[in-house]
Symmetry: C2
Subunit: 433 residues, 2 copies
């Protein structure tokens, strides 16, 4: 799929601010969207608002790319010069379109925003361009086409703000890229999410599946704190064969990863927990020490989480562990705040304090200070209390304070999921996958 | 500073995985480090592990750049081909250095890691290269130099993993870039952090300061949820004049932004809160509804926060607001969970439950569901209780659920800071800046 016959797509991000310390998230978002459609970003560049430099870079990449997706620099101000640079690179003229400016004026008027003369710049269109409507802002997009060496080529100019770029790309640009460069091929994408396993270990378990890679089957493994994602994209001309190819890779991958898999597609650890709690008709409360609220924050990132999440206690001090969670002084003295015993009492305490059916707790040494020979930085205990059972796990996590906390939160949610798999739900108790 | 005489520095990130959906954070990190040193990233590209493409892109940018910083592709496996591509672009040979391989073997041996034959690839050095030691991994870096049109040029090859790249860049590459491209110029950087103000409003207030920009003074404004950062870099040959230039810009900027400024340099909202609490000898507890733990997570991201942060209650359900925080049923019925009254009772409740001297509370409608005509999505109340006073603020926040929550957390911390400014501390009560 990424073989020699694959279409070369280049991403070009324009904006001096992107070279002044702002994180460029367009690149990863566009790469992922292309990949899910069986296309691939073959290279990317970020350029300042410099007309000559943009034009020369576009010209260079037009020579060996099939498509260029250009984001940013379509705004109304003097430093928005992507339109001009693209016209230079293509050797085409631009024309002012009064109808476009009238449209912009109507749109901004509805939002009761003033329409400065500057916005006229957005009504200039490169000769031969197809204009793409912007439903979230004023700058229209443009699609330019040409042929080179007998192959159709395409350049898309998109606005820079995510809220304008993303829907325009998904609605107008991606289908045209697929139609123009897909050569009658379709693609289907599947992703499985794993937790409780390192990327290298997941890679090893999945080696035989990944070995199936070929011109019509592509695999990518990506990891973030406490989570590993395995992406599969199948492609081909015959939709049934594409589906069969993907289905075979999916079932082999699921078999290879076993219980480490917690969800597919858009699922996150926290949404998977929510789904499992809902399915079992259970409610949850948390008790957090070293994560300081991160587990609660993740759980409540899911819209509608108030259906099953009660809340909990951030028990950063030992006094709060005792008073709000009922952890016994003797336990803290004998085993310490970072211990399996304290984690278990915290989980039971969260359940009781939150009047919830399940309690989830985390306690540990996040670092950089506070570690000792017996309790080193990275030592974390997670515990779940459900039904008559309270289980805990000892974790030895690496990395910075931030990473230890992120990994601890992910492993806590994963332990919750594993515990819920064993619960008889009132609604249904299907396996999570 | 970014004028025609400014040195052109290009960033090149190598790795197919960066084009498969991984977020490229090297670009923003390197841009910022360069800027703080009075240098600027003039362009960036991300390339797959394709020797021919990397070589041709390096060759193209060597023509009009003074320096290229290349990250990634120095690993031991067959797809790590940055060394070879750079040699191609420079038209130089490579030599195998047994002494380097012996060093790699010793290093991995100490970590009790096996040393495959593959690692020999990392002991190849481009002719004329200065070798940079890697203290965090096996791949050495390389610095290549040449002259073009009478000017010294430089290419740095750095390993891809952040933990290896970052220290090597700061220790070995940045000083060489400054020495080689700075032309005897030094730079000094200052940043001020604002909260409670929109980027556009901050921009307006700072317009007169920004108008001081010139070849020796550069300004950048960057915003994230609930925070705006204003960066100033001064440069020049005479260190005293550089310092004077920066100091003038600093005092004008501070005057322009007034109370919106909460810190300078490495300060964050949460570390500023910690510093203020410590200075006043106060402790803090939180009560979070719509943020679900985010405020606590931010506060505890600061190492040593257990000195002043007690913990708190994630009161997602009304039952928990009543039981753990003592919010009165009548308040919830009369004013609703999202109201100034509830926020204030939560703040007082947090203080009491956490036996803390200060209570901080957030309650709101994060969306996307749960909004109504009276209580729309984005309506948030933050409250602080300290001494005899409890104050609250009504906020109307825009954006997605994630953004509303992030903004609400930032505004809560900002309100805490403002409240602490009015407190007579036992230690000292200097103004926060």
């Amino acid at each position: 799929m990424a073989g020699p016959q694959a279409a070369q797509i280049a991403l070009v991000c324009v904006g001096t601010e992107l070279l002044r310390g702002q994180v460029n998230t367009h690149q990863s978002w566009l790469s992922r969207k292309l990949q899910n459609a069986g296309l691939f970003a073959g290279r990317e560049c970020t350029l300042p608002d410099d007309r000559r430099l943009i034009a020369s870079q576009l010209r260079a990449w037009m020579k060996d790319c099939d498509a260029l997706v250009v984001c940013g620099g379509l705004g109304p101000t003097f430093d928005d010069i992507t339109r001009e640079a693209a016209a230079d690179a293509l050797g085409r003229r631009m024309r002012y379109r009064q109808d476009l400016f009238d449209g912009i004026r109507r749109k901004l008027g509805r939002l009761r925003m003033p329409v400065p003369e500057e916005n006229k710049r957005q009504a200039w269109v490169i000769d031969g361009a197809e204009v793409l409507e912007n439903h979230a802002g004023s700058a229209p997009g443009q699609i330019l086409r040409w042929r080179r060496r007998g192959r159709p080529r395409l350049m898309a100019l998109l606005p820079g703000p995510y809220a304008e770029m993303a829907p325009m790309f998904e609605r107008d640009v991606l289908p045209r890229l697929v139609a123009s460069l897909g050569r009658g091929r379709r693609a289907a994408h599947w992703v499985v999410h794993l937790s409780g396993i390192a990327e290298s270990a997941a890679d090893e378990r999945l080696a035989k599946v990944t070995a199936m890679a070929g011109p019509d089957l592509d695999f990518t493994i990506l990891s973030s704190a406490g989570q590993v994602d395995y992406h599969v994209t199948a492609a081909g001309r015959d939709p049934r064969r594409v589906a069969a190819r993907l289905s075979l890779a999916r079932s082999r991958a699921l078999q290879a990863v076993g219980d480490f898999a917690f969800g597919e597609g858009e699922e996150t650890l926290e949404s998977a927990c929510g789904r499992a709690l809902r399915a079992a008709g259970l409610t949850l409360a948390v008790a957090e020490s070293c994560t300081g609220g991160l587990v609660g924050q993740k759980l409540t990132a899911v819209p509608g989480s108030s259906d099953y999440f009660q809340g909990g206690v951030i028990a950063y001090s030992n006094a709060l562990k005792r008073r709000l969670l009922g952890v016994r002084a003797a336990t803290l003295v004998r085993h310490g705040a970072v211990s399996a015993e304290t984690a278990q009492e915290m989980a039971r305490g969260a359940r009781k304090a939150g009047r919830a059916s399940v309690g989830l707790a985390v306690t540990g040494v996040a670092g950089p200070g506070g570690g000792s020979a017996q309790k080193p930085v990275g030592l974390v205990y997670v515990a779940v209390s459900v039904g008559a059972k309270t289980v805990s796990r000892e974790l030895r996590l690496g990395g910075s304070r931030e990473l230890v906390r992120a990994r601890a939160a992910a492993r806590a949610l994963h332990l919750l999921l594993l515990a819920l798999r064993g619960v008889k739900g009132r609604a249904n108790r299907r396996h999570l996958l």
